[in-house]
């Protein structure tokens, strides 16, 4: 159960804000905002090419890290919990690889049959 115990009649103990924690939240906010701004600017300035796509993917992972680790607090959970969430996403990586290869193959077959 929770560490806060009190009966219904007693007043609730409000703890004052920790400025350090709020600072950390704001820091993550600035990072997420800045990364999104960089993505947006790059999308407007550069022609689409594989390097740009790679940059977008990497920046997406940066944002994922900050949202999951800090906002969702996963970084501060016990290791077993962290890995039970992170390891299963390996299946997603496999899915991406498998279906993108499959898609390329379908494309090549279509070209071969219809052209």
């Amino acid at each position: 159960m929770s560490s806060h115990h009190h009966s219904d009649s007693s007043p609730v103990n409000i703890v004052p804000r920790d400025p350090q924690k709020v600072k950390q939240i704001l820091k993550v906010t600035y990072i997420l905002g800045a990364v999104t701004a960089v993505e947006f600017v790059c999308a407007g300035v550069f022609q689409r090419n594989p390097w740009l796509t790679l940059l977008f993917v990497l920046l997406t992972f940066v944002k994922t890290y900050y949202i999951v680790a800090e906002f969702m607090h996963l970084k501060h959970e016990v290791k077993t919990l962290i890995w039970s969430i992170v390891i299963p996403t390996a299946f997603i990586m496999w899915l991406i690889l498998a279906l993108l290869m499959e898609g390329t193959s379908v494309f090549q077959f279509r070209e071969w049959i219809f052209n």
């Binding site: 929770s2 939240i25 407007g44 994922t64 949202i67 959970e77 016990v78």
Partner: protein, 249 residues
């Protein structure tokens, strides 16, 4: 409390139960594993998008002409599709989705602040930040409704098909912007995400109502804010992926 008494009694032997190997409440763990399964659902949709895109021709200025036009022959560049912003008749690629992304990130921040206030048992602050989060959710949903309307209506001139007929906008049968699958996946992916935002807003409203009633003061902790917070951050995270893989690349 009875439960904590049992915990103390068994603290010597973990096989007697009452141990918490993951050091988190069952409610939070259920939320985490639900989110993991939901992440796999969303991956299914986004990877299907990747599969469809890779199985179609990409636009190539050397083959298809220097000026990009909507065509069945190749997958559209999303940047050329999503160029509208409300009230201005200007070409503003991705500006509106950029704004939507910022709205959702900000509502995630207000949710973190609500969780932080909850840890301190500060009811008034929790109320304030939950309200901002709900507002952010509604703002996002409003933007998405507008985005869908524009997508469904299509451009002023439409696209002329090979048989001479004109198509305007997109639905599940026609697509002005390119191959039909592009429109279908737009509706499925942003729709599935929008449904998540909508349910998130509803859950946030219920929790906000409970905060006002003083439910969590009575329970003795504000863990419910953490649980709905996890869901809300996840919805934000999914949008980060939709933004990259549907709109940017």
């Amino acid at each position: 409390m009875a439960h904590s008494a049992t915990l103390d009694q068994n603290s010597g032997n973990i096989w007697n139960g009452g141990a918490e190997p993951l050091k988190a409440s069952w409610g939070k763990l259920m939320m985490w594993f639900f989110l993991l399964s939901d992440a796999i659902s969303f991956s299914g949709l986004l990877v299907t998008y990747g599969f469809s895109r890779f199985s179609h021709s990409a636009y190539d200025p050397n083959i298809h002409g220097l000026k990009f036009e909507f065509s069945d022959l190749y997958w559209p560049i999303p940047e050329k599709v999503f160029t509208h912003i409300p009230f201005w008749h200007i070409d503003a690629p991705l500006v509106f989705v950029g704004i939507m992304t910022f709205i959702l990130i900000l509502s995630s921040v207000t949710m973190v602040l609500a969780v932080e206030a909850g840890h301190r048992m500060d009811k008034e602050e929790v109320k304030k930040w939950m309200l901002w989060t709900i507002l952010g959710g509604f703002a996002f949903l409003g933007c998405q409704a507008w985005e869908w309307t524009i997508f469904i209506q299509g451009s002023e001139h439409g696209r002329t098909l090979l048989d001479g007929t004109k198509v305007f906008g997109a639905n599940l049968h026609i697509n002005e912007y390119g191959p039909q699958l592009f429109a279908d996946l737009f509706f499925f992916i942003t729709g599935f995400h929008g449904t998540h935002v909508l349910s998130g807003v509803l859950i946030n409203i219920i929790v906000f109502y409970n905060v006002c009633l003083g439910t969590y003061d009575k329970v003795g902790n504000y863990e419910m804010i953490e649980k709905v917070g996890l869901y809300w951050h996840f919805v934000d995270l999914v949008w980060v992926f939709v933004f990259t893989f549907f709109y940017l690349v």
